[in-house]
Amino acid sequence: MAGTPPAAAPPAGTPPRNTHPLTVAVRVMRSIPALLGVGVLIALQSGQGLREAFTGDDPVVAVGLGALVLGGLALLLLIVGLVALGSWLSWSRLVYYFDDSGDLRVDSGVLTRQQRRLALSRLQSVDVNQPLLARVVGMAEVKVEVAGAGDSRVTLQYLTMSQAQALRDEVLARAAGLRPDAGTAPQTVIVTVPTRDLVESLLRSSTTLIGVVATVALVAFTVLVEGAVGVALLITGGVPIFQAFGQFVRFFGFTVAESPDGLRLRSGLTSTQAQTVPPGRVHAVEYSQPLLWRSKNWVRVQITIAGAAMGEQNQSSGFTGVLLPVAPREVAEAVVERVLPGLGSRELAWVSAPERVRVRAPIQWRALAVAADERVFAVRGGRLVRRWAMVPHARTQSVHLTQGPWQRRLGVATVSVDVADGPVAVDGLHQDAAVARRMADEQAERAKLAIATAGPERWMTHRLADLPAPDPGDPVV
């Protein structure tokens, strides 16, 4: 590259590093609840025998039982010891480092060695998470995700919080094409979700609604007919409340901040997650609005990031695809504007589904529509929960049309834009067949044009390359 700025000096490798030794302790602690559970189960099983032995006065039985209890304790300790040994072995065999080409390498495994190399030019996101147990001892895990099929992520457990943040900064700096020690990029908080809004939005969400309606119906039924439906009440009322509580814990204190590294998303009450999404990694965005959010004009925003497929996510940490759990529409659109410039709020010429699909989609037919302009393809639908989704043409992977027998009778078809795996599906349901066909063809054409003007991978190098190269040796003229 001509006139390479000094910031893009070739990154050097680093010596291998271990994760923090307390990792072993955290892993052992994590296994204790399960072991205790098993122990309690066994104790309960043999409780009857124990009680008989202690009330009886046969010394031989008492001694035998004492030995049994001691033996059980010893066994438990042995298992804990084995877990500790295993954790220690796997901890001591895991090293991470940056190689000479600047990619992150992770070597791990006790019996089967595994060497992984994450090409940071394809970085999708870096998370710093604190699961509850790790948080208690001040530890955090770093999750690095690159684009690629299958298992393209690495989770480093555990580092101290400052180490974790330093590693995140280094990964981001290298991926951006800056010097590895560029430090934390300055960030500005764009939006914080107030706890009041979060609680209220969860109470107003559709699942809670369904739970309340079902519970009321069941109570009425019980009063009228009499009967033991307590269990049913517990299930219908309990599941939504449980779900809402889970969301509350996860989305508590949700903060969106912006930095040159990309967007920083932070949230969590017991466990905390902090994710950094580099610019230009967002492939699609979806707004959703349950019925009772409408009066407040609230929306939830979900995004698809390539590589961060949702299927393999576990519950405690990891990206849910939620960019904003709840926010007024204007705020949400402003945030989306930062992730996908130009996509915040667009005046789109919606093409509605024909009225004849009323028989096929009696509830949502009025909402069904598709639209496209020079930047995005958009679909909308839903009656109880309104949804609208957008994908920039540059992110269109392919286009497909489907038509079932009933749709053919009605002369309609579904036109879909395929985007990278994630929570957002872009399906334009039940459009007039001719319109759908035309839309599909046009979309393929637009995708082709957009591919021709694709963006950079190492975002900072390109940004810096646009500026005149600074020359520190020269006196200022």
């Binding site: 684009a147 492939h283 390539a306 992110r395 269109t396 992977q397 392919s398 286009v399 497909h400 049309l401 489907t402 038509q403 079932g404 027998p405 053919r408 078809a413 879909s416 395929d418 985007v419 990278a420 795996d421 599906a425 066909r437 599909a440 063809d441 979309q443 393929a444 054409e445 995708a447 082709k448 591919i451 021709a452 694709a454 963006g455 991978e457």
Partner: protein, 149 residues
């Protein structure tokens, strides 16, 4: 599409349906159930087989592809019709696969992959030469026009 794909699919259908039907009819015949039971089972089995036979022919004839200047069109299905348009620049890899039965009959499947799992564009039942040539053409065009994700 090669008519051999019809042969292959009908063979698979026969292997799946006929033995099960035979066993069911045999067992009910031997057991002390009324004689209309095995007759009914045989009718269902054979009827289903006939229907499947007819459906396979129709479905295989529905497969098609068209190489346009900048994208590939793939069609499939009679009852549930599907048309996929994949811009060459979005193809990540092109698979050519053939199972044991396919190899015996001399047919292969060309499958296109993009970054989206929903892209599902498969062209089954191509003769190996055609499949290989198609793959090479697609890869070449994909390379010309490719651009990250």
């Amino acid at each position: 599409m090669s008519p051999k794909l019809i042969v292959a699919r009908r063979l698979v259908l026969a292997i799946l349906v006929l033995p099960i039907t035979a066993v069911a009819v045999g067992v009910t015949w031997a057991s002390p159930s009324p004689p209309w039971v095995p007759a009914l089972l045989a009718a269902i089995g054979l009827g289903g087989f006939g229907w499947g036979w007819w459906l396979v022919g129709r479905r295989v004839r529905s497969y098609g592809y068209c190489e346009r200047e900048d994208d590939l069109l793939v069609t499939s299905g009679i009852m549930f019709r599907r048309l996929v348009i994949v811009p060459y620049g979005r193809m990540q890899l092109v698979d050519v696969t053939a199972g044991p039965l396919d190899r015996t009959l001399g047919i292969t499947t060309v499958q296109l992959h993009t970054a989206a799992a929903t892209s599902d564009a498969a062209i089954p039942g191509l003769p190996p030469d055609e499949a290989g040539a198609l793959r090479d053409r697609l890869s070449a065009r994909g390379e010309e026009r490719s651009a990250g994700l």
